[in-house]
Subunit: 271 residues, 2 copies
């Protein structure tokens, strides 16, 4: 997928919503627990109920790995379902990987080639050669952690390195790497005032924005400071949508929650 | 396992060798490719041939994930084999994970509880709440990336944050976190001169040291600057041992390569 195709999808759906498939066995409605693969059945129902409202889906690998082989199988089934039934959506493996070069190449193979995700999140701490193998995969995107939405973001990411914060240094440095046009960045919504300066450093990149909803970030503020002329934002919501109800009506309830966000987004696309 | 037990094992085996099970399907001897699970058969043979010479084994999860479900199964079989046949060895899931709190808790469950690794490597970029769920698991260790052995380490890790390098800030800050006694650190052998200052910050922690051998680090220098009164070092070798031969003699060849390192280590334990 190209960013132009992503932009067209955003225009068509009037949405820049990413739904986080952080599917937790303890929060899956009871009636699904009898099925052979409750995690996949849950994801499938959520996807079926929301795919016209969301442009992107983002399974976080931790929730799948927590169930070992069975969970890994659910992840594979989920991405296969997305790729086959809804090839227009932008898929993100929220894996936060990163290792020395030959090892990162293995992760790139796993997520971008074998499972055919459109993108994967990557941690920047190990520097250029830990990210390059992901960037080298054509027509795929590497979403680098810049400024995350959690409290721990202030431990290191916002520390001054020379005359700028570490997360800015990460963005600036990564823009000099080969195939940097394949980069996107994670920037948490809980720090909306930071978007203005980030857009000065990287006006054109798509930003993946967690932290709206459960974590307290404001959609309006994110758009005010973060939106560019090709939108340039994917705003993620996980728990607020997928656990809108834990009863048998979980899928229509998820749709209603997604629709609420989509309608706000549609307005913000026309400000 | 406690660090005291690890120290006793080091004394008994006269070794502080960690063997990296970075098992690459393309480098497995041909005669194993006919077996049902070549990766596990390879690991099993390496472990059987070296377990009296090494105190620790470290599968890097990337090499297993690269084969999807099948690879994940090989990883589970490998850790089960280690836990059952060689419960005295210190096992490391080299996973370099790290995410927001509730998500890191899922990774901690996967690696430290379900698979029962003794430890897991974690990336520090997302700060305290991304590491705490790992630290909270009793009698297990969190091995935080501090200064890695790759070229990209100089992109961010060695940048000045205030009046010290980022990797020092990571070590110092993490020492203030709850259950910090469960912390170890990754420090690359390729930067042996850095060990002196690291030991001033963290005199007692075990350091996991990659980069001896293939990546050019000197075992003597690492010991000179990094060893403490409880040894405090786990020196990793992966490719130099497990691919010492790619023929049918790969296991005895691995043993010979491991023995060479172990004999050097035995001498260094008595300097």
């Amino acid at each position: 997928m190209t960013t132009q195709q992503l932009y067209e999808q955003i225009q068509q759906k009037q949405s820049f919503l990413c739904i986080g498939l952080d599917t937790d066995m303890n929060r899956i409605p009871e009636h699904l627990l009898q099925t052979e693969d409750p995690i996949f059945e849950f994801n499938k129902a959520i996807i079926d109920a929301t795919h016209d409202l969301a442009v992107s889906y983002k399974p976080n690998t931790a929730f799948y790995e927590a169930h070992g082989l069975k969970g890994w199988h659910s992840l594979e089934k989920t991405i296969n379902y997305l790729n086959q039934k809804h090839p227009e959506v932008f898929t993100i493996a929220d894996a936060k990987r990163g290792d020395i070069g030959n090892t990162s190449a293995m992760y790139a193979k796993a997520f971008l080639q074998d499972m055919s995700f459109d993108s994967v999140t990557v941690a920047p701490y190990m520097g250029k050669d830990s990210v390059s193998p992901f960037l080298a995969v054509k027509n795929k995107f590497t979403i680098l952690l810049a400024l995350t939405s959690n409290e721990g973001a202030f431990d290191f990411q916002t520390q001054q390195v020379g005359n700028e914060e570490l997360y800015k240094k990460v963005i600036k440095t990564s823009q000099t790497w080969e195939s940097s046009e394949n980069l996107m960045y994670v920037v948490g919504a809980t720090k909306a005032e930071f978007f203005k300066e980030i857009r000065e450093i990287t006006p054109h990149s798509f930003l993946l924005v967690p932290g709206v909803g459960a974590q307290g970030g404001s959609l309006q503020d994110v758009c005010k400071y973060g939106m560019n002329d090709k939108v340039g934002l994917l705003v993620n919501s996980s728990r607020g949508i997928i656990y809108a109800s834990q009863g048998e009506d979980f899928a229509p309830a998820a749709r209603a929650a997604a629709q609420k966000l989509q309608q706000q987004m549609a307005k913000l696309l026309h400000v």
